[in-house]
C-alpha cells in the first residue's frame, strides 16, 4: 500500500504536469507571438488560445493551493525564499492575463504593439521564471537546519538553473508551435512546422546538456535511479515521444504530434519527480535538511480529506475540459466574437 504522503507527492506532480502541458502550449504561442509580423496571424495566435488560456492557468493556481494544503512547509518555505522572483512572476502573469482583453479594444497601432510586447515578453518571462525555479528545486536550495532559506535572489540565477530554464522554455516553444499546427493553414502553418522542428532540435541538445550538468550539480538525483521500474517506463516514453515528433510533423499527423509532445512534457517532469522522491526541496547545504513528503506534510487527516475532495472534483474537471477543447477544436476562424 502506498501512503498518503506518496499519493500527494504524485498528485502535486500530476498538477504540475497538467499545468505544463496546458499552459505550456499557450505560453509557447505567446513567445512565438513575438516573431509574428502580420496582424491577421497575430489575431489567429490570440484567438487560438483565447477561449482556453484562463482554464489552463487554473492548473497553476490549483497546484499552488494543493501544495499549501498537502505540504504547507514547502509552500511557505519556497514561496518566501523565491520572494522577488515570484513578485516578478506575478507581475508578468497579471499583465499577460489582461493583455487578451485590452489588446483589441483600442484601434491604435502603437497601443496594440504595446500589448503584443506585454503578451509576448510576459509569456517568455513566465516560462523562464517557472523553469528556472524548477531547476533550482532540482539542484536544491540553501536551507539551513531550521528549514530557513539562506540564499539570495541572485543565487537563483546559477548556471544549472539557467540551463534547465532554457531547456524548459524551448520545450514550451516547441509545444506551442505544434499546437498551432492544428490551428492554422497555409504559410502560417508552414512557419509553425519550421518552429516546431527547430525547437525540437534545440530541446534535444539542451536536454542532453542539462542531464550532463546534473551529474556535476545534483548527483544525488541519480541515486538508485536505474533500479526503479518507473524510471525505465518514463525513460522509454521520453525517448519514444522525442523520436515521434519529427516523424509526426513530416506525416502531417498534427494531433498525434501534439499528444506526443504532451507525453514528452509528462515524462520530463515525471523523471524529475521520480529522482527527487521523497524529497520535495533538497537542501544544498546538507541533504538531511531537505524538505520531504514526510517532514513537511499536513496531518494524515487533512491529506485524507483532501484526497476525497480531489477524487470527487478532478474527474469532473477533466471531463468538461475535454468537452470544451472539443467545442473549440479545428482551425481558428476570426469572427466578430473574437478578440
Amino acid at each position: 500500500m502506498i501512503d498518503l504522503n506518496t499519493i500527494w507527492f504524485i498528485l502535486i506532480s500530476v498538477l504540475i504536469i497538467g499545468y505544463a502541458i496546458l499552459d505550456g502550449f499557450d505560453l509557447g504561442v505567446g513567445i512565438l507571438h513575438l516573431f509574428t509580423k502580420e496582424e491577421s496571424e497575430k489575431r489567429i495566435n490570440i484567438n487560438a488560445i483565447g477561449p482556453v488560456w484562463d482554464g489552463n492557468e487554473v492548473w497553476l493556481l490549483t497546484a499552488g493551493g494543493a501544495l499549501f494544503a498537502a505540504f504547507p512547509l514547502v509552500y511557505a518555505t519556497v514561496f518566501s525564499a523565491f520572494y522577488l522572483a515570484l513578485m516578478l512572476l506575478l507581475t508578468a502573469l497579471i499583465l499577460r492575463a489582461v493583455s487578451f482583453e485590452f489588446r483589441g479594444k483600442i484601434m491604435s497601432v502603437s497601443y496594440k504593439k504595446l500589448w503584443d510586447y506585454l503578451f509576448g515578453f510576459g509569456s517568455l518571462f513566465i516560462s523562464l521564471l517557472l523553469t528556472i525555479a524548477f531547476g533550482n528545486i532540482l539542484k536544491g536550495i540553501p536551507l539551513n537546519e531550521n528549514k530557513l532559506y539562506e540564499g539570495t535572489f541572485l543565487s537563483l540565477l546559477n548556471p544549472y538553473a539557467i540551463a534547465v530554464g532554457l531547456t524548459g522554455t524551448v520545450l514550451f516553444i516547441m509545444h506551442g508551435a505544434i499546437y498551432m499546427t492544428m490551428k492554422t493553414n497555409g504559410l502560417h502553418q508552414q512557419r509553425m512546422i519550421k518552429w516546431a522542428t527547430a525547437s525540437w532540435m534545440a530541446f534535444v541538445i539542451l536536454y542532453f546538456i542539462s542531464t550532463l550538468l546534473t551529474f556535476f550539480y545534483a548527483n544525488f538525483l541519480f541515486e538508485n535511479l536505474t533500479k526503479n521500474m518507473l524510471f525505465w517506463i518514463f525513460f522509454i516514453l521520453l525517448l519514444a515521444s522525442i523520436l515521434y515528433i519529427p516523424v509526426g510533423l513530416k506525416n502531417q499527423k498534427y494531433f498525434l504530434t501534439f499528444i506526443s509532445s504532451s507525453l514528452l512534457i509528462t515524462s520530463v517532469i515525471a523523471l524529475s519527480a521520480i529522482s527527487l522522491f521523497p524529497k520535495l526541496v533538497p537542501s544544498s547545504i546538507n541533504l538531511d535538511y531537505s524538505l520531504t513528503a514526510y517532514n513537511s506534510s499536513s496531518s494524515q487527516y487533512t491529506l485524507k480529506t483532501m484526497l476525497i475532495i480531489a477524487s470527487i472534483g478532478m474527474p469532473v474537471v477533466i471531463a468538461y475540459t475535454i468537452f470544451i477543447y472539443k467545442v473549440f477544436k479545428g482551425k481558428v476562424i476570426i469572427s466578430k466574437d473574437s478578440y
Binding site: 482556453v52 484562463d54 487554473v58 493551493g65 492575463a97 487578451f100 474537471v317
Partner: protein, 439 residues
C-alpha cells in the same frame, strides 16, 4: 518602516484592489443567467443583444479578477509564511477546494460562454453562463470559509506547534461561515444589479437600443431592490448577531461601544476617538443595539473597556467603515424603492435626473463591499487567527522590509495603470452600446 506593517499594507492593497472585481462578476453573472434564460425561452433578440453586450463586460471584469486574484494564491506563502506554516493543515484545504470546485468551472465555461454562442446549442450556451455564475459563487464560498476560519476558528487542535484539522465540516461551517457568505453573496448581487441598472440607465439617457435597455433596467432595478432589502433583513442582521456573540471586541469596536452597558444604544452618527476611547458629537437611539443583538432592550453588551489593551482592534477605522457601509445599504433600498415606485406609476422613463443618479451610483455597492471588508478585517486585529496567532507573528522571516517595499511599489504602479485602462475600456464599451443582431 517595519516589515510587518509593510506586509500588511501590501496585503491590504492587493486584496482591496482584487475585491473590486469578483463581487461585480458574481452579480453580473447571475443577472446574465436571467437575461440569457429570457432570450432563450422567449426567443427574444433584444435579450440576446443584451447578453452579448453585458457578456463582453463580464469578460473584462472577469479578466481583471483573475489577473489580480493570482496574487492572493501566492501571497500567503511569500509574505505570510509563518502564518502558512501555522494554519496550512487547515487553511490550504479550502483554497485547494476553491481551485478544484470553482476556478476550473468558472474559467473553463467563461470561454465557452463568450466565444461559443454559435458553436453550441442555446441550452448548452445558457448552461455555460449558469456554470460561470455557480463557479464564481462557489469560489466565494470557499474563500470565505478560509477567511471565516481566521475569524472564528473551529474543528482544530493545536498539535506539533500548529493548528491541525480534526473535523473538516466543523472547520468549513465554523460559526461565521454562513452569515458571512450570505452577506457577501448578497453584496455581490447588489454590485451586479447596480452595474446593469446604471449602464442601462445610461443607454436610455443616450437613446441607444432603448427598448432592450428598458428591459434590462427594469430587471436590474427590481432585482436590486429585493436583494437590498434582504441584505439588511435578515442577512445583515444575522451577521451582526453572530459577530456580537463570537467576536465581542470587534462588535464593540464597529458599534462604538466603549463601556459595558445594559440597554446599549445604536450610534447613528458620531466621531470616534481612541485615546481615551470616546464618541464625540454622537446621535444615539437608546436600547436599540441590545435589542438588535440579543432581542432584549436591557441586555448587557460588553464594551471596549472589558478587553485587554493589546487585544482591541483600531477604533476609528472600524467604526467609520462599518457605519458608512450601513449608510450605503440604506441608500440602496431608498434609491431602488423610488425607482420601483415610478416604474409602477409608469413615469420612470421621464425621470432623467433619477436615471442619471443610477448611472453615478454604479460604484457605490463596490464601495460598500470594500468598507464591509475593512470593518471585518481590521476588526479582527491584532489577531490573524482569532485568539490563536497575532498578525505580527505571522509574516515571513526571510523576507526583508526592502523587498516588500519594492513589491508594494511594483503593485501600486501596475494596479494604477490597470485600473485606469479598465475604466477607459469599460466606458468605451458602454458608450459603444449593444450591437444589433443581424438576422
Amino acid at each position: 518602516m517595519d516589515a510587518v506593517l509593510l506586509a500588511r499594507l501590501q496585503f491590504a492593497l492587493t486584496v482591496g484592489f482584487h475585491f473590486i472585481f469578483p463581487p461585480l462578476s458574481i452579480g453580473l453573472a447571475w443577472l446574465l443567467v436571467i437575461i440569457e434564460a429570457l432570450g432563450w425561452k422567449r426567443n427574444d433578440d433584444s435579450y440576446i443583444m443584451l447578453g452579448n453586450f453585458f457578456g463582453k463586460i463580464l469578460g473584462l471584469i472577469f479578466a481583471m479578477g483573475v489577473a489580480t486574484g493570482i496574487v492572493m494564491e501566492f501571497q500567503f506563502g511569500t509574505n505570510w509564511s509563518e502564518y502558512s506554516k501555522f494554519v496550512g493543515d487547515i487553511f490550504g484545504a479550502p483554497l485547494a477546494a476553491e481551485g478544484i470546485f470553482a476556478f476550473f468551472l468558472e474559467s473553463t465555461f467563461l470561454g465557452l460562454y463568450i466565444f461559443g454562442r454559435n458553436k453550441v446549442s442555446k441550452g448548452v450556451h445558457w448552461f455555460s453562463i449558469l456554470m460561470v455564475a455557480l463557479g464564481s459563487t462557489i469560489s466565494a464560498f470557499w474563500i470565505l470559509v478560509a477567511n471565516s476560519w481566521q475569524q472564528t476558528p473551529a474543528g482544530y487542535v493545536i498539535r506539533n506547534g500548529r493548528a491541525e484539522l480534526v473535523d473538516f465540516w466543523a472547520a468549513v461551517f465554523n460559526p461565521s461561515t454562513l452569515p458571512r457568505f450570505f452577506h457577501t453573496f448578497a453584496a455581490s448581487l447588489i454590485c451586479g444589479g447596480f452595474l446593469v441598472m446604471g449602464i442601462s440607465a445610461y443607454l436610455i439617457i443616450k437613446n441607444k437600443q432603448i427598448d432592450a435597455a428598458k428591459k434590462s433596467f427594469k430587471l436590474a432595478l427590481i432585482f436590486s431592490l429585493i436583494v437590498s432589502l434582504l441584505q439588511v433583513f435578515p442577512i445583515g442582521h444575522e451577521h451582526g448577531r453572530q459577530v456580537a456573540r463570537t467576536q465581542p471586541e470587534k462588535f464593540a469596536a464597529i458599534q462604538g461601544l466603549y463601556t459595558t452597558q445594559s440597554g446599549a444604544p445604536i450610534a447613528i452618527f458620531a466621531i470616534p476617538f481612541s485615546k481615551p476611547p470616546e464618541l464625540k458629537a454622537k446621535i444615539e437611539i437608546p436600547g436599540l443595539l441590545s435589542w438588535l443583538a440579543f432581542g432584549d432592550i436591557n441586555a448587557e453588551i460588553k464594551g471596549i473597556n472589558e478587553f485587554p489593551e493589546d487585544e482591541i482592534p483600531p477604533l476609528f477605522l472600524t467604526f467609520v467603515s462599518y457605519h458608512n457601509m450601513v449608510l450605503l445599504g440604506i441608500y440602496f433600498i431608498f434609491i431602488t424603492a423610488i425607482g420601483t415606485y415610478f416604474l409602477w406609476k409608469k413615469k420612470i422613463w421621464d425621470k432623467r435626473k433619477l436615471l442619471k443618479i443610477y448611472v453615478w451610483s454604479i460604484p457605490l455597492p463596490v464601495l460598500a463591499s470594500e468598507l464591509g471588508w475593512i470593518a471585518a478585517e481590521v476588526g479582527r486585529q491584532p489577531w490573524i487567527v482569532y485568539k490563536l496567532l497575532k498578525t505580527q507573528d505571522a509574516v515571513s522571516i526571510t523576507v526583508s522590509a526592502n523587498e516588500i517595499l519594492f513589491s508594494i511599489i511594483l503593485f501600486a504602479i501596475i494596479y494604477l495603470l490597470l485600473f485606469s485602462l479598465f475604466i477607459y475600456v469599460l466606458v468605451n464599451k458602454v458608450k459603444h452600446g449593444p450591437e444589433p443582431i443581424n438576422s
